[in-house]
């Protein structure tokens, strides 16, 4: 593995890319009215965190790649979260006949 190949792109480029993805996910999470889109925004945020972990794992922790192990755990948790979230969404849709987030207000003061 040639060492100067992996240093063509600076670490900060990956961090900035992950920051863009994370902020997009946060904005979508706040502003989406469709419940499915809220779940998609959460997946975007998880992917941004994964990019950060992988970049640090490659640039700063090249021998013990602990960031990759963490990424695998995050992928596992994200899969579980997607399954449970979509099951909750189906249950909600069956009861309220809508996916509008503004109308899921039974427990809101």
């Amino acid at each position: 593995m040639d060492s100067n190949i992996s240093s063509t792109i600076p670490l900060e480029a990956y961090l900035a890319l992950a920051a863009v993805l994370f902020c997009t996910g946060v904005w979508g999470l706040i502003n989406s009215r469709n419940a499915v889109r809220v779940l998609m925004s959460i997946e975007l945020m998880l992917n941004a965190v994964n990019i950060n972990l992988m970049a640090f794992s490659n640039y700063l922790d090249g021998q013990l790649i602990r960031g990759q192990v963490f990424t695998i755990f995050v992928i596992t948790v994200a899969a579980a979260e997607a399954a449970v979230g979509l099951a909750i969404l189906l249950s909600l849709y069956r009861n309220r006949e809508t996916v509008d987030m503004e109308r899921f207000n039974l427990l809101r003061w």
């Binding site: 593995m1 060492s3 100067n4 992996s6 240093s7 792109i9 670490l11 480029a13 990956y14 961090l15 900035a16 890319l17 920051a19 863009v20 994370f22 902020c23 946060v26 904005w27 706040i30 502003n31 989406s32 469709n34 499915v36 889109r37 998609m40 997946e43 975007l44 992917n47 490659n58 640039y59 700063l60 922790d61 090249g62 790649i65 602990r66 990759q68 192990v69 990424t71 695998i72 992928i75 596992t76 948790v77 899969a79 579980a80 997607a82 399954a83 449970v84 979509l86 099951a87 909750i88 189906l90 249950s91 069956r94 009861n95 309220r96 006949e97 809508t98 509008d100 503004e102 109308r103």
Partner: protein, 200 residues
Amino acid sequence: MTIASTTQLICFVVLAATLVLGSLGVVLLPNIVYSAFLLGGVFLSVAGLYLMLNASFVAAAQVLVYVGAVNVLILFAIMLVNKKENLEAIPGLALRRVLSGAVCAGLFALLIRVAFVTPWPLPGPEPVGEDATIRIGEHLFSDYLLPFELASVLLLIAMIGAIVLARRDVISSDIATGDPVDQGLIEKERTPLLLDRTPR
């Protein structure tokens, strides 16, 4: 500038553009089906970034789990709940969007500042490259053994929870009177608490 570094730069720019445009499309497009397919594109470009970061195993896991499972699950959910509904207008929606956009821009500025100001200890140790899969296996079965086993328990719990949440309760007779009941009646009429009580 060698051919290798130029190729790497081109790959990074293309993947980054796909990622940013795709994520903006996921959030902004009005049609949710297009959003779901763009989300698949975002996942694929993230997998490409993982390949550029010397992590072939995690890239394969990303494609299998995210594109193969999560994205398909989201598409199925869209197919199940995709009803055309006219969302009623909310007062102050534009103001809310602008305010949350400002908050996200502030968060973005903070993250960028942290990324560019922090003195990272570069260059780090030499990346292991193709031995990454071996290292991950060693980690998973030595010092990360407990989280690995907990992840399997978590997946089992999530599977059971998803089945319990998503299935329809089959009640063949009314609990109060003993009469056979219609499932549609159970879900519509006999759960008045969960029906919409807002005045129309």
